[in-house]
Symmetry: C2
Subunit: 139 residues, 2 copies
């Protein structure tokens, strides 16, 4: 069992600071469209970062294990929030993974590694909305 | 409908940078217990920050609407990750909310505001694991 602990400390208005031992603070706020200021990470941004980051680090595990050599890797997560009969909810997250391989012949191995990452990512597994992943291979 | 987009860019090894337009970058990594370096935010930390931040900003909405005057407010979220038959998964998040009121007589109003925040928080609503909230009143 592993635990991950973060504290958010209110700093007035619609802002706070996210603190995690030994790591730089993150200034957070209510999204601007709900009255918060511009320029701060919002809880919804952090959720998207968590999903993109977890898919990437899960993928890196299988990529390393299977000796796949990357030139670059980028994961863009887009979380959609909508009004539902139960109120505001995150209704889906789409993730575009953009990867360049050092050896294009490793594409089949990369696709297998990503499938495993998708199935094993603990963060997307903890969500009750669909998480859709699309791979784009760079040149 | 609102969308929240974040990109995580691999920076080598088990590290990356989370980028969100107009906001400071966050250095992220695989957790140290899975081979990542120390000192970076992990996807699991970001999930905890997202839940704590969303509960806090949801609470601040009702607190402002109901003219409740706070002295301080802190939300600590602890995400538990465990091995399950489906692999690693986040199995629960407990959130301790610590609030000091300017007027202790507003406690009943605060409790109602927190109940509403709990029911309306879009991030915790998107999770399939239990999110448990406990309120501690400071003096």
């Amino acid at each position: 069992m592993w635990t991950y602990e973060t504290t958010v400390k209110w700093s007035g208005g619609k802002k706070g600071r996210a603190l995690c031992a030994g790591k730089p603070d993150i200034e957070i706020s209510t999204p601007p469209e709900f009255g918060g200021p511009e320029g701060c990470w919002t809880p919804e941004d952090l959720l998207a970062a968590s999903v993109a980051g977890c898919l990437m680090t899960s993928a890196l595990f299988f990529i390393e294990r299977d000796s796949i050599a990357l030139s670059s890797c980028e994961c863009r997560a887009r979380a959609v929030m909508q009004k539902t009969p139960q109120g505001l909810a995150i209704t889906g997250i789409s993730v575009d993974v953009n990867i360049s391989l050092q050896d294009p012949g490793q594409e089949p191995a990369l696709r297998r590694a990503l499938e495993r990452a998708e199935a094993s990512c603990p963060v997307s597994k903890s969500l009750n909305c669909p998480v859709e992943l699309a791979l784009q291979l760079g040149r």
